[in-house]
Amino acid sequence: MIIRGDEPEQKELLKKLYKPGNYFMMGDEAIAYGAIFAGCRFYAGYPITPSSEIAETMARELPKVGGYYLQMEDEIASIAAMIGASWTGFKVMTATSGPGFSLMQENLGYAVMTETPLVLVDVQRSGPSTGQATKGAQGDFFQARWGTHGDHPMIAVSPVSVEDAFWETIRAFNIAEKLRTPVVVLFDGILGHTREQIRIPDPDEVEIAYRKLPQSEEEAKLPFGDPHGDGIPPMPLFGHGYFTHVTGSTHKENGLRDVYTPEVHDRLIRRIHRKIEKNRDVYEKYEEYYTEDAEILVVSWGVSARPSLGAVLKARKEGIRVGLFVPKTVHPFPGERMRELGKKVRAILVPEMNLGQMILEVQRFVNDDVLLKGVNKIGGVPLTVEEILREIRGVAI
């Protein structure tokens, strides 16, 4: 069994095609290159602003590395095709934006239930509905978490710059492969269309993970079992004679449907949750600036994180003891660290390009004696350093 893109000659190919060094590119392009470096060799998508440059870059670059670009008839078909391809051993990705993300939700749930590794990039745009189609936003925070139905865990990472988009996409693939689960990359239209310098690394510098494959006939016969006690079943790929049955209905360890026995459903769903809870070290990631002595904390994510850092740096110059906490994996939220930080500060500001979404996660982990305030902006224009600084000054004594 082989994961495509895993062949040793692929590394040589990458070295030949993409010389290490500095490039000037858009966030969307950085996501596409990140995917290619991570070993993605199958992309299925449907165009939508502001994500289309990811599809365009994949269409141009994938054939060079022996990969497949498919433009499907809609977003539902796109995620369906990538799930089918993932079961044949491809690392797979799709990218979309608001309305397309909504269409993908049913099959995103299917991927959770069938433990299919895939990466879904949502380049957030203003909504609801068609909204401001060409403008960026951060309004899909909870759609990423709760967009599909049922009790389910979900992992979402969120890059803060163009270069970060390259590396976070690779990290998303590694998480998806290690935990046999879909991973959402919550990007946004502003960073997606921002051009800045990024360094393309030598492929040897890139850590690459592959899904666990069955080591024996018995393991292959239990595609949804837990032979290693870590909650992560090895994935028997199609085409290898294992006669694997995969269904989105509640299934036993051998894959066969059983929707009548309460224990079977309970066991399956709890294991899928446990697999994510227990493996926090695989995906938890955040950045901190000046948090040691902070009495005011700014908590921000994605596109809003950089102006937040700018504001924190300026406020520090003014002598304000302010720190910054940036969750890079936003789901599951880094709640433990948030709780610790929350105990040390008296005010928390949460800048984001929506009317208050991540702030609800922050609120779950801080006591109500802490002043908690959103810094919110909608309309498609990013928050500025000045706007955030003004709020910091406002809560400083």
């Binding site: 008839e73 089918g84 491809f90 049955h245």
Partner: protein, 280 residues
């Protein structure tokens, strides 16, 4: 139980731990499963070279889980889209979709015509029982004009979709329609569909005595089969008949059988060309 199955020569192709099937007695789904197993047997296809994909509905269960191959039971209507990804990943395997008319032609209608247009090498066996069987017999896009269903209690005022004709027009390489009363022709067509490079559709008109027959004066499965036989018109004859004469008839036979460039082959050719140009 085991004993009964052992008398059935095709049992070697079935997932015995999943038997008996959940299909109602007299359901046409059993005939379709039998015909499919016989086609695989006659072509001597190793089930390890087979991936069967289905959507949601009674007909979706025919092969997934019952057929002993890699089987992917997907979301309602999306089987062909999932199968597209499987075929690109495993271009040398037989990728087969077996599902219902509601699944493939209503919610999944878009995927059906676009897969035919792309001409991807997938074999689709579409079980047309004129009804949403699994959800309790609601009207479908295939329900005959005037028929009674749970959501058309007075009569259906919509016109049924001509699936085989539509898929042929969309660009498929092979299209045929039979009924469950034409078992041998059905097996031959499934064999042709499997061995034709490109998109193939075999539409099988099938009885659902429980949800459709019962409400339309055909309680017994045999009554439905007689209805199929009485109203089937071979395609050669149908060509000479008027629209009015064909109203309520089932046109059976092969609609197209042709060679067109196939999607996964073209995709692989393209990749080779690009690599030759950029990778030295």
């Amino acid at each position: 139980m085991k004993k009964i199955y052992s008398r059935y020569p095709m049992v070697k192709y079935l997932r015995q731990e999943a038997l008996p099937t959940a299909l109602c007695p007299g359901c046409g789904g059993g005939t379709v499963l039998n015909a499919f197993a016989n086609a695989i047997d006659q072509l001597k296809i190793d089930p390890r070279d087979l991936v069967v994909v289905s959507g949601i509905g009674c007909s979706a269960w025919i092969a997934s889980p019952y057929f002993l191959a890699d089987t992917l039971h997907t979301t309602h209507g999306r089987a062909i889209a999932f199968a597209t990804g499987v075929k690109v990943g495993l271009p040398d395997k037989y990728v087969v979709v077996i599902s219902g008319d509601g699944d493939l032609a209503s919610i999944g209608g878009n995927h059906l015509i676009h897969a035919a247009r792309r001409n991807i090498d997938i074999t689709v066996i579409l079980v047309n029982n004129f009804i949403y069987g699994m959800t309790g017999g609601q009207v479908a896009p295939t329900t005959p004009f005037g028929a009674i269903t749970t959501t058309t209690p007075y009569r259906n005022v919509e016109h049924p979709l001509k699936i085989a004709e539509t898929v042929a027009a969309a660009g498929a390489s092979y299209v045929a329609r039979w009924t469950t009363a034409h078992v041998y022709q059905l097996i031959e067509s499934i064999k042709k569909a499997l061995t034709t490079k490109g998109f193939s559709l075999v539409e099988v008109i099938s009885q659902c005595p429980v949800q459709f027959g019962r409400r339309n004066k055909m309680k017994e499965p045999a009554e439905m089969l007689r209805w199929f036989l009485k109203n089937s018109v071979p395609i050669s004859k149908a060509k000479k008949m008027s629209e009015e004469e064909l109203e309520g008839k089932f046109v059976i036979g092969e609609f197209v059988h042709r060679r067109r460039p196939e999607f996964t082959e073209e995709l692989n050719k393209l990749i080779k060309e690009v690599q030759e140009k950029y990778v030295r």
